[in-house]
Amino acid sequence: MNSAALFLTVFVACAVEAVEALTIILAAGLTREWRSTFQGMAVALVVLAIVVAAVGPALTLFPLWVLRLLVGALLAVFGIMWLRKAILRASGYKGLHDEAGIYERQVAAARAASAGGRFGVRDWYAFTLSFKGVLLEGLEVVFIAITFGDNQGNLGLAALAAAAAVLVIAGVGIAARAPLARVPENAMKFAVGVMLTSFGTFWGAEGAGVHWPGTDAALLVIIPAIAIVCLAYTALLRRTRATIQADVPPQAAAASSAEPAPAGATLPTTTGPTTTGPTTSPTAEPAAGSLTSEEMPR
């Protein structure tokens, strides 16, 4: 993996996480209180810094094969989960990851939650919402940057890519003051899922003692092979769904459909500008107390 590929992979992966964290921060800050939101964010960043300080040096204590085995397994599992979601969304079985919709649900939940402070924090709800969102997303950013950087022997570049992604998304978010709903998140998630799964497979197998044919060049086969299989899964699922819908009366199909006619679900064509208009209005969605499992970051 050359430097450009390492930078790009880490940047895109971290940008996806940053978009999700931004959505949660905006929902907490705009509807509750900015001070408590920033306090939650700051505490989460301190926890993340402690994790980096503890995990970074600890990684050097492990033999390379152990590191590759563990990291490879985790990356492969992460990648499979990302691909699972991306394929289900692209084939219409799951609603597209709609940042505006998630934001509106968060806003409704934040407005419905009772006010009150604890431990010197004025608004505990805003604090915990912000803390959880930043910590969960940040852990993934840290994990991806450390594992890719460490395995490629270029931790500095991986950290730079992660920081650049967070700064770019934060900058765009501050400028837009709204969730970045037009980011082609599903296509990004698909691409990153392919990379995570491919590198996880490569490093995990190496850690288990395998010698890849062609050594590093094997990645040039693994990455496109996994991408092709995922596209095939997507096509198969779309066809299956279309067949099922054709057999079901229109009213029943409309009622049971997770996402009507997912035109934007096409993986390679979900492109668009990176900002969106404001979506700060209250919503008719039921006020959920927390993120759903679908909306929880991974």
Binding site: V77, R84, K85, L88, G200, T201, A205, G209, H211, M296
Partner: protein
């Protein structure tokens, strides 16, 4: 304390395993089998993990569709 430990465990389970345990189970099994083949049988089983990953993804997707 036990409540905190449960929450801590749930957090890490959700972070690492996620929505479906099938992916993690197949990856761990495929890695264990690969290591066994390489070190015990002397077989360079480079093909096993890619196959395992593809099977795991397919299995997980099939389960998700059935649920939906």
């Amino acid at each position: 304390m036990s409540r905190w430990l449960r929450s801590f465990g749930a957090f890490w389970y959700d972070f690492v395993i996620g929505d479906d345990w099938r992916g993690a189970a197949v990856v761990v099994l495929a890695l264990a089998l690969t290591a066994l083949l390489v070190h015990a049988a002397g077989v360079n089983a480079w093909w096993l993990l890619p196959v395992g990953v593809i099977v795991a993804l397919g299995w997980s997707l099939r389960h998700a569709i059935k649920e939906s």
